[in-house]
């Protein structure tokens, strides 16, 4: 496997299985999955609908715990952590970008970007400065105090990116970030991703589009909860 970027493992999925019990039937959304993610990498996760991509992203994002196996992030064993520590890790080390943007409707652009900073206990004026800076960087300098419903999808997703960057996270997780966008807005988002990657951020992105996946360095394909292929370009 190519190790051109870095040998430093930032996140390690070790023999992870995630089982959902529904109506008495057990369903393995992930089955004995092993992946190492390297610092500064740009990874795409692909696969047909229901193959377990989102399940994997939730584990990587410390929103969920594996049924069996281990998940290490930045040296911490996530599978053994309590709820508060998971929250703290999410807030401090991870940035989330969602397909449906997931902005808080009653808050303005800057206020949305400030949310992760708030939960990190950062001072108000400091948070405001960071939020304005980030909003400007994603091209929303003239929309600082607009509410999400006053923005286009592409603009909302840019707010999402700015918010994911607020705490200067180790890893950015994006589950179908361009899924709701037209190709032009999608390209804009991708441009930001490249920029971030160049700045050294680790990006893990779920996508259905081969075209978009082709822009990343490594493509992992899942099928029925197992890794089908793992290709580095």
């Amino acid at each position: 496997m190519g190790t051109a970027l870095s040998t430093e493992v930032i996140a390690r999925v070790e023999d992870v299985t995630k089982t959902y019990i529904m109506g008495g039937d057990a369903l393995n959304a992930l089955q004995n999955v092993n992946i190492d993610f390297h610092a500064g990498d740009f990874v795409s996760i692909m696969g047909p609908s229901g193959c377990g991509k989102s399940t994997l992203m939730n584990l990587l994002g410390c929103l969920d715990r594996p049924t069996s196996g281990r998940y290490l992030l930045g040296g911490h064993d996530i599978s053994k952590m309590d709820d508060d520590s998971l929250s703290a890790i999410r807030g401090a080390q991870l940035g989330f970008i969602f397909q449906s943007y997931n902005l808080i409707q009653q808050l303005s652009v800057v206020e949305n970007i400030e949310v992760p900073l708030y939960y990190q206990g950062r001072a108000e004026d400091e948070s405001r400065a960071i939020a304005i800076d980030l909003a400007t960087r994603v091209g929303l300098g003239s929309r600082l105090y607009h509410k999400p419903f006053e923005l286009s999808g592409g603009q909302q997703q840019r707010v999402g990116i700015a918010r994911a960057l607020a705490n200067d996270p180790l890893v950015i997780l994006a589950d179908e970030p361009t899924g709701n966008l037209d190709s032009k807005s999608g390209d804009e988002i991708l441009k930001f991703f490249h920029e971030l990657n160049e700045q050294g951020k680790t990006l893990i992105m779920v996508t259905h589009s081969d075209e978009i996946a082709a822009q990343s360095f490594r493509v992992i394909r899942l099928r029925d909860g197992r890794i089908e292929s793992d290709v580095r370009r």
Partner: protein, 446 residues
């Protein structure tokens, strides 16, 4: 094993302390969320508003009424005992055939003498006879209660003279025909002139008016909470020396009722016994009652101890407050349930927001605080609105209906604190429900 990088920032424990500034920001976020649903927030809060407002208003009315009652009792004198003659019940209905009949009943001068002798602490006894008769000023007349009484009556009954003066001991001793008119009597008989120095006529006798009493005052049936068998007291009153009353009207009162002549002999209609030490009032009252019971075959007298009435009034006020408290508690609980209901709906509606916040680093505690603060803001707001309304309503009641109301300082404070408490109590469950949502599920929620 490959190298595993540890986090660069100072670990995951930064955001755990709740400073005042953080609280302020949480409050601001709460206000924003509530403001987004202004109408709903307002409707939610109405239960608390009405709860708090009705508590304060009802307490104010209760306080005002009991104040009026107490004031009335206090006027009778808290260190006095009032004894009155009452027509015994068996004497009230004479047989049909008996057309002319006469009875003697009531308190006698002898009773007063015995009381004076038996109880050393008693200083003053104000005997009074009450005769109901027409008082004339030329062509004008009113039916007045004529009080035959002593010179110190005004001080005794806390009923001061408005104009002129009350009669003196000397005038009592010399049986002089002078009188002091009640305020209403003077107004009715002398609408234009100052009555002082003029004469009024009762029966065949003239009385020189020497003074006019202030409006109000007590006498007859105005003792609250008690009923006397004597005829209802007249609004109009006139005061003459007791000696004059005795000599002009005698001990016997003749009344003509539907063809029958009835004559009643009553020596004294009313007497006030003043006790030196207020602590002894109740005991002395009992002794007086005993003395009268020993000397009267029938129960043709009444003993009132205003202090006892005052205590009864106090007790019934406490009872009233207790009932109010229960009503208040119920209405606030209903208000609280209303708030809880809406907060539960709000939690469900904002499931996605909760998921987002959890993903962005919010701990369960943060979510609890956020929702709890919203509930407390709601109920606190309801409390404030309730206090404002609750203070305004008694004000308008007094303004438009002359009914006395008193808003005590503690009632808004208590009502408001309870409403805030209700907010916390009923906010806990929705807040816990929000905090215990699974972040993944919450994020998937539509």
């Amino acid at each position: 094993m490959s190298a595993v990088r540890l986090s660069s920032s100072g670990g995951p424990s930064v955001g755990s302390s709740f400073t005042f500034l953080r609280l302020k920001r949480t409050v601001r976020v709460g206000v924003k969320s509530l403001w987004m649903h202004r109408l709903r927030s307002l409707l939610t809060v109405l239960g608390i508003v009405f709860g708090v407002c009705s508590v304060i208003a009802m307490l104010a009315i209760g306080e005002g009424t009991s104040y009026a009652v107490q004031e009335q009792i206090r006027k009778l004198g808290s260190s006095s005992i009032i004894i009155r003659s009452v027509k015994p019940p068996e004497a009230e209905k004479p047989s049909q055939q008996q057309r002319n009949w006469s009875i003697a009943y009531g308190i006698t001068y002898a009773d007063i003498e015995i009381i004076k002798k038996t109880i050393p602490g008693v200083t003053v006894v104000v005997p009074a006879r009450i005769i109901r008769q027409a008082v004339w000023n030329h062509a004008k007349s009113v039916n007045a209660d004529i009080y035959g009484t002593v010179a110190w009556y005004p001080e005794m009954r806390n009923h001061p003279v408005e104009r002129g003066r009350f009669f003196s001991q000397d005038e009592v001793d010399r049986t002089i025909n002078v009188c002091t008119l009640g305020h209403e009597t003077a107004a009715a008989l002398f609408p234009v002139d100052d009555p002082v120095g003029l004469n009024v006529k009762v029966g065949a006798n003239y009385y020189r008016v020497i003074g006019v009493m202030e409006a109000g005052g007590t006498g007859g049936e105005s003792i609250p909470g008690q009923s006397s068998a004597a005829p209802k007291a007249s609004l109009h009153k006139m005061y003459i020396p007791i000696s004059a009353a005795k000599s002009r009207f005698g001990e016997t009162l003749m009344k003509r009722t539907s063809g029958a002549m009835e004559s009643e002999t009553v020596e004294l209609h009313e007497a006030v016994i003043q006790v030196h030490n207020q602590q002894e009032v109740k005991e002395t009252g009992e002794i007086v009652e005993e003395i009268l019971a020993r000397n009267h075959k029938k129960k043709d007298y009444e003993v009132f101890v205003p202090l006892r009435l005052l205590e009864q009034a106090e007790k019934s006020k406490q009872m009233f407050n207790l009932v109010l408290g229960a009503i208040a508690a119920i209405s606030l609980i209903v208000g609280g349930i209303g708030i809880m209901n809406i907060m539960l709906a709000s939690v469900t509606e904002r499931t996605r927001e909760i998921g987002i916040r959890r993903a962005l680093g919010a701990k369960k505690k943060d979510i609890i605080v956020q929702f709890l603060i919203e509930t407390v803001i709601l109920s606190g707001l309801g409390g404030i609105l309730g206090v404002i309304l609750g203070v305004l309503i008694p004000f308008f009641i007094t303004y438009f209906s002359d009914m006395k109301t008193i808003v005590t300082l503690w009632s808004p404070i208590i009502a408001f604190s309870i409403s805030a408490l209700v907010g916390i109590v009923f906010g806990i469950y929705p807040a816990l429900r929000a905090a215990n949502m699974d972040p993944v599920e919450a994020l998937r929620h539509e």
